[in-house]
Symmetry: C2
Subunit: 202 residues, 2 copies
Amino acid sequence: MSSEQIKISTRDKILESAIRLFAEKGFSGTTTREIAEKAGVNEALIFRYFSTKRDLYSAIIERKISEEPGFEYPLEAFKETRDDWLIFRSIAIRMFDCVEKDPSFIRLLHFSALEGHELSDMFFDTYVQYQRMLLSDYIERRISEGAFKNVNPVLAARAFIGMVINYILVQEIFGEKKRRKIKREEVADTFVKIFLEGIKNN
Amino acid sequence: MSSEQIKISTRDKILESAIRLFAEKGFSGTTTREIAEKAGVNEALIFRYFSTKRDLYSAIIERKISEEPGFEYPLEAFKETRDDWLIFRSIAIRMFDCVEKDPSFIRLLHFSALEGHELSDMFFDTYVQYQRMLLSDYIERRISEGAFKNVNPVLAARAFIGMVINYILVQEIFGEKKRRKIKREEVADTFVKIFLEGIKNN
DNA sequence: GTAGAGTAAGTAAGTAATTACTTTATATTA
DNA sequence: TAATATAAAGTAATTACTTACTTACTCTAC
């Protein structure tokens, strides 16, 4: 009870290293031997836990889908607050946080889409569609309240998410990370400012 | 001189089918046998024209880099016009056009970045960086003229490009293409409206 | 407590298929 | 004649995946 050793199961070791490798080099760029080496287990064990390499990949995506949603929002805030600045800013910051906490996530998402994995749609829906829906609902309400201009709320949501996601994508995948280093807060503030000034009435 | 047959060289046939396959399945997801089959040439010929598979990939990226820049702007317009609406709208439309004309382009760009090809940086610079620079220069000038708010011009440029690119990306790579079908013009108008209203003074 | 049985975890070696790439010998064309 | 193409066969390495076997742990019976 006192000195409980944290024993990482073999299954988890395999999953962990597979996530990192698939995120780094994609499905067909990663070999099961590499995965086993990185996990420090025998290659044959992979196939004891997962019947095929593709199965392992699917297990990873399923796990990512069911895991803490990464950028989960204060949902109540969406319904009670009308503090646009706070809401949009917190969404942007939350997206930055999510990617910083789990850098393999965005690479996995893009690899699985490009490589056409069967679960990539669900992956996409869980994160992107859901988020977009929440945001466009909020925008729609603000339009009907007369606070926002009368624009297509889905397009407006996509505009805002697009700014942020694309910024992150360029940093993470196109490796601009190291070159420029603008503070996240400045980025978020600028984007929110442009967007809100652009959509607000008056 | 009269009945000049359009003879597609073997090299071009190989390049052509390799572009399509690499864009579809990535570098490590594509085999040289497939490329040869699709091109209708013998597999051995690939290695007569390109010493390795990697070489072929590089040749493709180099070709895409040197090719007509896809979305080339009316550069003079940037310096002479002050019609913000026209400029931003034409940029957005031009990006839509480019991707529609050559759907493999955006997939190649993303695959090469994810798979970490050595030329992917140059690829990125040629298209994204250059375009961003043009746009941020324009924004900077408009700020100094007092037409735009005083925001970081590079961030503003990235905000606008991000909206459009992300929209395209989701349609093309995450396959939302078929589901929704909003007219490009409506998308462009909405984005430009939000952006310009957000950045303009008064 | 210990023998033994049952089960899970681990391993080395090997499978057949596929990979990028080569070779050689034979056509076709300019 | 000389470059360019083809087909077919073959290379060594690598691939995903399997096999047959050993070890380690756990539970039960006495």
